[in-house]
């Protein structure tokens, strides 16, 4: 790329040869009106709003599709440019309904702004305007297609970014419409971004419809904490309520996109199941009490029992500050029983797979091996980066127990039930080592290698920038540790990077503050050790625990005193808890998220906590004070974050032997839909109504179904059985929005 000089409106500016005029102008802060141009999408040049005068050209040129060349002289606001812009504006408004007073885009509409700047005050058009009948496109996006100006940003977003070709431009001339083929709803985990790219009010947020005018809201910078990326967002609030969430640009984190989960989860904040008042259970009856009384009850309950019998369990979506204070409290009491890994079949693992690649680097890979993951739904923004790499020719291989609908082509896909995953990965490793004539470790001596494994190995060795991704389905595997170790070895042998996506949310913050036992009991062990005191931080065993029935039974013991610091109440929590301390939820508390690149992103509270609930760091600080523990004299949450971030986590690296552990002949992989992955999203209604939110099936092959005596339509652990051959033999893949059952 050559640096060139051009002149825009008389000032000399720099660009690369071939760069469009509009992109140079944008960088220089020179305004050029536009509708169809979007920096992250291909150039369509169909709206003609960006016409500018380029000296030497008889006709005005579209700035978005005219490449700059050295010495070019561009005028964006001389007579000729202005006349063209005005003409285009008049043309675009011919069929636009001008229903701005009842349009949710009003006040933040590119058409409104540009019309204000370039429009005329009278229209020469006296004919009837056209009206477009709407096809609905699902629970998240409201369509008012009469307002559409056919810029095709949404169509290009779908095809180029989301990887779904569902919206299209049908008909022609006056009959041109932007619509999907069927009105089943857009099936994408990123669909909400269409709202952001639509320059007019044709696509707006459905849950936000008619809520409040855009200019009445405050925009607060925040960070989403549903996944490992920590997408940057604005929460838009009105009268103390979050009304909408939109993307905030941060090129190195989420670029300019956010997932639907990050965008629409806020609806859960006002759900009727929120815990709003402190409560204590007196003789089996719940009583609403003051914070003082509830904290007093919690303190005396905790003091009654010994430290060894104390256990703390926290949500992996909790803030860094909350996790830090709860571990400090637990350790201050003298207990090492603490964990966030409630959904992990075998949390005794100490070896965690390291992440050695950055989000930006993911775009430059030439091969990705995805193990145990439906990455697209688990980590939408990470998957998006990999998809970008595939558009440049990167290949993807998968080792999964179910065939997933990725939004890119998967070159080698190996189906492997959890109990065979070690063997499959060992095969890949052996093939790799043999191909590079490296010495085989003992545990690979008897490993058999098949063609599919050789294919993956040879794609990996041929690649120069490969990454091996481990996803959250590994948590259903008792041998998760060994799987992680094999992934590390495979990456080493093939000179690949690794990405650990096995635990989501703010897991890396939990790692940072060592929110896991160092010699004490882990999540699974705590429920079998007859502990007397539990403190739960936003934990809902029905959904969160691998064996929810056992966990609830244990928590319900008469001699178990349970303090639930929870943002929501559900039946089981009300059943087993003795004290409920209502917790401020997402956006209601300040906090810090640590993302996959180990970047700590702090944010303030966007709104006041609902009801009487309080931010977790305050609750834990006061609780610790009442328990007379030293070192809790914090006055604000940044102080807590500072202390937490100055810790260096004790990375206990214990040797893992690759030996197959006992795994049932038929294994179950349990995966929640992305909208059942944490308590806030589970309460966000619109997300639940989407097709992704409604997924609930136990997929099993015909042969395995026969062994389990299941037939189509039966229920397996409460989930409808779906028999087909997209799943590995010897396992049931449960993909659901329902709580875990035995």
């Amino acid at each position: 790329m050559v640096d060139i000089e051009i002149e825009i409106d008389g000032s000399v500016v720099h660009g690369h040869s071939g760069e469009s005029i509009i992109s140079i102008a944008d960088r220089e802060g020179i305004d050029i009106p536009r509708f169809c141009y979007h920096k992250k999408l291909s150039v369509a040049a169909n709206c003609r709003m960006c016409l500018v005068d380029v000296e030497g050209n008889p006709k005005p040129q579209p700035a978005c599709s005219t490449p700059a060349s050295a010495g070019m002289r561009v005028h964006t606001n001389n007579e000729k440019a202005k006349a063209s812009q005005k003409a285009v504006m008049e043309f675009l408004l011919i069929n636009h309904p001008l229903d701005c007073p009842i349009c949710d885009q009003g006040g933040e509409c590119e058409l409104q702004d540009v019309a204000m700047e370039y429009g005329s005050d009278v229209s020469k058009f006296n004919e009837g305007k056209r009206i477009v009948a709407d096809k609905g496109i699902g629970a998240l996006i409201q369509t008012d297609m009469t307002r559409c100006i056919h810029c095709t940003r949404c169509v290009r977003f779908g095809a180029e970014v989301a990887g779904i070709v569902e919206m299209g431009a049908t008909g022609r001339g006056e009959e041109l419409k932007i619509e999907p083929f069927l009105s089943e709803g857009i099936q994408s985990e990123l669909s909400g971004n269409m709202i952001d790219v639509c320059p007019v009010g044709a696509l707006t947020s459905k849950p936000f419809r008619y809520e409040v005018r855009s200019w009445q809201m405050n925009s607060v910078e925040s960070v989403a904490r549903h996944d490992l990326v920590g997408s940057n967002i604005f929460t838009q609030t009105h009268k103390g309520k979050v009304k909408r969430v939109v993307a905030r640009d941060n090129e190195s984190v989420n670029e300019t996109w956010i997932s639907d989960r990050d965008r629409f989860s806020y609806e859960g904040l006002t759900n009727e199941n929120r815990a709003l008042t402190p409560k204590i259970k007196v003789k089996g009856e719940w009583q609403e009490v003051s914070w003082e009384a509830a904290l007093e009850a919690a303190t005396s309950g905790i003091k009654k029992n010994s430290a060894e019998a104390f256990g703390a369990l926290a949500s992996k979506n909790a803030t860094l500050e909350e996790l830090y204070l709860l571990q400090k409290l637990t350790r201050g009491l003298g207990s090492e029983n603490l964990d966030t890994r409630l959904d992990v079949a075998n949390p005794s693992s100490t070896s965690a797979l390291e992440t050695t690649i950055s989000l930006a680097e993911l775009e430059a890979i030439d091969h990705a091996l995805i193990v145990n993951s439906y990455l697209r739904l688990e980590q939408p923004m990470i998957n998006h980066r990999i998809r970008k790499a595939t558009l440049n020719g990167a290949k993807v291989s998968t080792v999964n127990s179910l065939t997933f609908d990725f939004n890119y082509r998967v070159a080698n896909s190996v189906l492997s039930a959890p109990q065979n995953t070690l063997a499959t990965l060992s095969g890949v490793l052996k093939a790799l080592l043999e191909a590079n004539s490296l010495a085989l470790p003992d545990y690979l001596k008897d490993t058999k290698v098949d063609q599919a494994q050789i294919d993956i190995a040879s794609t990996l060795s041929a690649a120069e920038n490969a990454v091996v991704v481990l996803g959250e389905q590994v948590n259903s595997n008792p041998c998760a540790d060994q799987v992680a170790k094999l992934v590390t070895q495979i990456a080493k042998a093939s000179n690949s990077k690794t990405l650990n996506a096995s635990a989501t949310g703010n897991t890396l913050a939990a790692e940072k503050v060592s929110f896991k036992p160092n010699g004490g009991l882990n999540a699974a062990q705590m429920f079998t050790a007859n502990l007397n005191t539990f403190v739960l931080l936003d934990v809902y065993p029905t959904y969160d625990c691998v064996d929810s029935t056992a966990a609830i039974e244990d928590l319900s013991r008469d001699d178990a005193f349970v303090v639930a610091i929870n943002s929501f109440e559900d039946e089981s929590v009300l059943g087993f808890a003795d004290v409920i301390l209502p917790l401020a939820s997402f956006y209601e508390t300040s906090g810090t998220h640590i993302n996959i690149e180990n970047v700590a992103q702090s944010y303030g509270a966007s709104v006041k906590a609902a009801g009487d609930s309080k931010p977790g760091w305050k609750v834990l600080k006061v609780l610790a004070d009442l328990l007379e523990l030293p070192g809790f004299d914090y006055t604000d949450s940044p102080q807590v974050a500072d202390d937490a971030l100055s810790l260096s986590p004790n990375v206990a690296t214990s040797e893992v032997d690759i030996i197959a552990m006992e795994v049932p002949n038929i294994a179950t992989v349990w995966q929640y839909t992305p909208y059942a992955s944490d308590v806030l999203t589970r309460h966000a209604q619109s997300l639940q109504q989407t097709q992704i939110g409604q997924i609930s099936e136990a997929v099993v092959s015909a042969a395995t179904a026969k062994i389990l005596e299941l037939s189509q339509g039966d229920c397996y652990k409460g989930v409808p059985v779906n028999i087909n051959e997209t799943v590995a033999e010897g396992c049931v893949f449960v993909h659901t929005n329902q709580a875990r059952q035995r």
Binding site: V165, E166, M167, G168, A169, T170, G171, R172, E175, P180, F181, L182
Partner: protein, 157 residues
Amino acid sequence: MISDKAKQQIDTWVAKYPAGCQSSAVMEALKIVQAENDGSLTSESIQAVADYLEMPVISAYEVATFYENYNHKPVGKHVIRFCHNISCMLNGADDLISYLETKTGVKIGEVSEDGLVSVKKVECLGACVGAPMFQIGDRYYENLTQQKIDEILDGLK
């Protein structure tokens, strides 16, 4: 949905494009399938074409709604495609269209009761030298007059 014969016909078109570019044959494929289904397309047949050519159905639908030679409602055995663009209009197309409507009793976009004819207005068919004109099947009828239209209609079976 698509007969084997139609598939064979489509395949000859697919073969004209480089491997992997089978969707380039979408226009012909739609035409073939339309011919097989009494001259019109349905959501199902468009879906079938998209599936057969391994392309997103919306893309096939875009093509099917862009071009006028695809019909989305049932049509008569003979579709009279009457040009109403500038040359034909200047030469009296509009009056002749009304004449045709009264004569056949079929309004633009409708099918006659016996299913024999339907009438459609189309844009310039590139036969301006012979304006006014219409097309039935593969044939152009030019320099139309009321009398000529009568004769043509009489000849339709």
